[in-house]
Amino acid sequence: MIHYIDGPEIMITENDGIFVDAKFYETGETLYELEPRRLFPKSGGNRYVVLLDSEGEQVAVIRNTENLLPESREVIERALDEYYLIPRITKFIKMTDKFRVWMWTAETDHGTLTFEVRNHISTVKPLYDGRVLIKDANDNRYEVPDYRKLDKRSIRMLRPKL
């Protein structure tokens, strides 16, 4: 059975980077080195976050990190931020396109980079809310939060691929 956490019945403290410790008030048990993972990394944000033990077995599922105690929330969200790297593209600088092998240079919230995209139909996924998910040739993920809000030049470059 899945153990859901709704709110303050758990105290989460920092362990090391992506790991956290959790004290369950109901049982008084404390578990160490748990790994929080998003169950819906693309669509759910910080809703439904599972805690995994060192064997990869699930311990509990937090329905929404917003409902945790503020300190716990801060710790778990920091661990999640540490684990997940989906750079948000804020601007497309250059797209060279040759026989479906694209070299894209983009500005992201983690810096500027150039990456290779192959086969845009399967690796560039536009969503209905304007988000665009991109996977490069090395399987790294990027996100355009809302392509309609990009500058005109970036939109002009990206639109044909959507």
């Binding site: 092998v101 290779e116 086969n119 399967s122 790294n140």
Partner: protein, 747 residues
């Protein structure tokens, strides 16, 4: 500075620091990261020696002697990964961070370091790292782009030959037919230029002079011209269509052939619906374009030049007037092309989504009915259609407005001719007659046809470009590399060795980690583990469906990648959980891998597979025609046909992937009998959830989370009381419970 073996070029500042530390000569290899520890894009590096390592990141330099380290950890997270060492005090030291681009070398480095910590440094450990790096360092010498494998062609450079010339090679074998068509076109084009001259003569000479003889002559000439024109046009159309069909069939055949040799990793990322769409629809677009380029474009060019010469000869002033709209036509044509090009790309994407949806839902109609999700399937289809319609609307608007503007401009051209020509006649210009004006107007209208054609050419070019890109996606895709082509061993004995094999479908998650396994010829190996543990992936690697694993697999001591792929796969019998049946007779389904087999061989194979009995009872026997994917047979029956197919192959290595998972106990026992007959004397790998089906196994491999956690004889593993023991316990408890329930119900 000597070059260090690394996944990326060593950043110079780190190289210098390494020099300053006098460590340069001690470095065996380095892993270069592309992120800072704070996860900004940047540089970091870990250098590995025989006894120590040096790490360089934005916080400075760190040095560890291997004696301080308890364990190395290469951790894949989401969109990034890290390399850390855990020291004996239990502290984790994160040394570098990187995107998935450096994940494989980091894994290899962790394996190396853990190996050195456990057993001390050895050349073999370094060899495994070098192997991974060799694959990583495959760059095109010309353009520097990363290649999928060291010896593969660079798509980027290979693609430099023009797309048109690439596709025109499909037209070349039919050049004779195309040249004939072209010559015929030249005749019809020349014939089309004659009537206006006749009209001029009629208006200026025949009618004013009331010359009946000349009138009859002119009519006869016109009749002759029309007959020649239309007879030739009919013949040319037929010839052109035949040639066009031949071109498209050649293209389709090539794509289909290429699709057969593409690796499974291609199909992991591309939907089959999309491939079908490319073969069916994009090829027709190319066909039309090749014909357009090789025929119409040339004909229109002839027409354009021919008319221009005639018009200039008739009256050069009027000709210049009639050319006034041309720059505007060309400008609008280019602007239209720029607008509509991206639209075609988008519409192709929508069309591809639609066909992907159809490929999913039509064959899956049983599931849709079972879950009564007809409405949601319809809604989804509606949504996809609407998306397509929206894009199509944009193109429809553009396609409607553009020709209207063009036609308007053309009409304006003829108005200019009427205006200027009419003015010449009214003002009594001597070198201008009514007949000349009438014929000039006819030529001008003919002149604008090719202008219109070339102005619209951009539209069809863009459309074709999108289709061509799709086709090239298959034609230029990296095929399965058969490095060992023609390297055919005398016989496959069936010894299989995995050495330090790591594998991931994409770099986000390792599916197999550090697999080391030896299977002797004739071994019957049971592979057990929970769902998703990596059992089938292990089999996929033995089948050589994927080549891009780290480490090595040896068959009879020879590297699997160096054995002729076709020969090797022919030595393997493969029975799947859900056997694939083709829409053909039972006979042909059994004879699938051996089309020239004698009828009695087929019957014998069916008998060994315990399939002969039920086939005999079918009204059409071996001639029974199966529906798509074997509709008409039960799961167990399909399975036995699949076993018969394997019998026909007489394989050296036999792979049974959950062969009895989906059948009842009675059928299971029939299949089990068949399998036992089949495995005799062959290296056999059996994946099974029901451990009872592994009673013939002399070796059990337990896979968990992509690693081999137990390996040995069933007795050894039971004595270990590990994972296998637990699985056996759970299953025997379950079976006892089921048996008891069945007995209670019986009572």
């Amino acid at each position: 500075m000597p070059e260090i073996l690394s996944n990326l070029h060593c950043p110079e500042q780190f190289h210098r620091q390494l020099d300053e530390l006098n460590a340069d000569g001690k470095v065996l290899f380095a892993v270069v990261g592309d992120l800072t520890l704070e996860r900004r894009y940047g540089e970091s590096m870990v250098c590995f020696g025989e006894k120590e390592l040096w790490a360089f990141n934005e916080s400075g330099t760190e040095h560890f002697d291997y004696s301080e380290i308890k364990e190395a950890e290469s951790k894949r997270m989401y969109g990034n990964a890290s390399f850390a060492v855990i020291t004996h005090d239990g502290k984790r030291h994160k040394l570098i961070r990187f995107t998935y681009a450096a994940a494989s070398p980091s894994d290899a480095a962790a394996d190396f370091l853990n190996g050195v910590i456990e057993h001390g440094y050895s050349r073999e450990l370094l060899y495994a790292v070098e192997n991974t790096f060799r694959r990583m360092r495959a760059f095109c010498p010309k353009c520097g782009r990363k290649l999928p494998t060291p010896d593969s062609d660079c798509l980027n450079c290979k693609g430099k030959s023009k797309m048109v010339s690439k596709f025109s090679q499909y037209a070349l074998p039919y050049k004779k037919g195309l040249i004939i068509c072209l010559l015929l076109s030249a005749i019809t084009t020349a014939a089309a230029l004659v009537p206006p001259i006749i009209t001029q003569k009629m208006v200026d000479i025949v009618l004013p002079n009331r010359d009946k003889t000349m009138l009859y002559q002119m009519i006869l000439i016109l009749l002759g011209v029309y007959v020649v024109q239309y007879v030739i046009t009919a013949f040319r159309s037929y010839l052109l269509r035949r040639t066009g069909d031949k071109i498209v069939i050649a293209l389709k055949k090539d794509i289909y052939e290429k699709a057969q040799y593409l690796p499974l990793s291609f199909y992991d990322k591309t939907s089959t619906g999309r491939v079908i769409n490319i073969i069916n629809s994009d090829t027709s677009t190319i066909q039309n374009f090749v014909l357009k380029i090789s025929q119409e474009a040339i004909v229109q060019l002839f027409t354009l030049v021919g008319i221009l010469i005639i018009m200039l000869r008739l009256n050069w002033k009027l000709t210049l007037f009639s050319l006034v709209p041309i720059p505007i036509v060309v400008f609008i044509g280019r602007a239209f092309g720029k607008q509509v090009g991206p639209m075609y790309l988008r519409i192709l994407r929508r069309a591809s989504s639609l066909s992907g949806l159809l490929t999913d839902t039509i064959p899956g109609v049983r599931i849709i009915k079972a879950f009564t999700t007809e409405e949601s399937a319809i809604n989804k289809f509606d949504r996809y259609c609407d998306d397509w319609m929206n894009e199509e609307n944009g193109i429809a608007k553009m396609s409607a407005i553009f020709p209207a503007i063009m036609t308007f401009l053309v009409t304006c051209g003829s108005l200019i001719i009427w205006f200027s020509g009419g003015s010449f006649i009214i003002s009594g210009s001597e070198d201008f007659s009514v007949g000349l004006l009438v014929s000039f107007v006819s030529y001008a209208s003919m002149f604008y046809n090719p202008v219109n054609f070339f102005a619209n050419f951009g539209d069809s070019y863009r459309n074709t470009l999108a289709s061509a890109e799709n086709i090239l996606e298959i034609l230029d895709a990296e095929p399965e590399h058969d490095f060992g082509k023609n390297s055919i061993p005398e016989k496959i004995e069936g010894k299989i060795e995995f050495r330090n094999v790591n594998f991931s479908f994409d770099r986000s998650k390792k599916v197999l980690s550090n697999i080391n396994l030896t299977i002797e010829p004739g071994d019957v190996v049971g592979i057990v583990g929970t769902t998703g543990s990596g059992k089938s992936t292990l089999i996929n690697l033995i089948m050589r469906y994927y080549d891009d694993y780290d480490g090595d697999i040896f068959v009879d001591g020879k590297n699997l990648r160096d054995i002729d792929m076709q020969y090797y796969r022919n030595q393997i019998g493969y029975v799947q959980q859900e056997p694939m049946m083709f829409k053909d007779t039972i006979f042909n389904n059994i004879a699938y891998g051996a089309p020239n087999a004698h009828v009695e061989q087929i019957i014998r194979a069916a008998d060994i597979a315990n399939a002969h009995g039920f086939i005999c009872r079918l009204p059409d026997g071996y001639d029974t025609l199966l529906g798509e994917r074997g509709i008409g047979l039960s799961g167990g029956e399909k399975q036995r046909i699949s076993i018969a197919r394997a019998v026909m192959k007489n394989p050296s290595i036999l792979i049974l992937d959950e062969a009895t998972a989906a059948v009842d106990s009675e059928t299971e026992s029939l299949i089990q009998q068949a399998i036992e007959r089949l495995i005799n004397g062959r290296t056999t790998l059996m994946i099974a959830h029901r451990l009872s089906t592994l009673r013939k196994a002399n070796k059990i491999v337990v896979v968990d989370k992509g690693e081999i956690i137990e390996c040995g004889t069933p007795e050894e593993l039971l004595a270990m009381k590990g994972k296998y023991y637990k699985l056996v316990e759970i299953q025997s408890m379950g079976e006892q419970l089921q048996k008891r329930k069945a007995e209670e119900q019986f009572e």
